[in-house]
Amino acid sequence: MQNVRIQSESFDTGAEINTFRAARTDIGALCAFSGYVRDFGTIGKLTQLHLEHFPAMAQKQLETLHREAVERFTLYDALIIHRFGTLDIGAEIVLVATLASHREEAIEATHFIMDTLKTTAPFWKKEINDTTHAWVESRAGDITATDRWKKD
């Protein structure tokens, strides 16, 4: 699925968004979320962030999430790009973009994809600096965020 990409290489967020919606005149709304590597974490100032992942499952999981989002929010399309490997401070980690007729579907779908990806996509972050490193712990708030999208 070309609109679900897992890669170590950096990407240009703006260019990806433009390519994603290029030449389409049927869409009324595009919503995008970008996640970046911050320069601080639980271990203090960071020099890098390392992302480990489970390749086969991550691809499967994100493709399932893509299909689910397109169907549930009646999207024209969605784009999910997630990096892995050792990333620099300030680098992009993830991009999620959605195309829809109207803003509500586009915004809700982006929110749904990000909240669900946070707890179900097999990536693990490790903070790194000159003195130490530590695995990032998952936050209870992330589980709550995923759960609130679950249908009864």
Binding site: E52, M57, K118, F123, W124
Partner: protein
């Protein structure tokens, strides 16, 4: 059965994957985890908090009580922190 470990669990156990022969009495993932936890200190420490363990059977997230057979692949890992 091929079992893979990731992230802090991989570091605690000291390997990213291994191939196990399922004993006849091991029918579910939690039984397998109990068995591994009893087989060595590293496993015991890695699996100490069962609520913090996620499992994927044949690359799909499942609950720990899922049934397993020797030809399945299993992955055991901590809560995910992507995004």
């Amino acid at each position: 059965m091929k079992v893979s470990y990731f992230a802090s669990m991989r570091e605690a156990i000291g390997k990213g994957q291994e191939t196990l022969s399922l004993p006849d009495n091991i029918k579910t993932i939690d039984q397998l985890i109990n068995w591994l936890a009893g087989s060595g200190d590293a496993y015991h420490r890695a699996f100490a908090d069962r609520a913090a363990i996620n499992v994927a059977l044949n690359e799909t997230l499942v609950e720990q009580d899922a049934a397993i057979i020797d030809t399945d692949t299993l992955a055991i890992f901590p809560p995910m922190t992507g995004g």
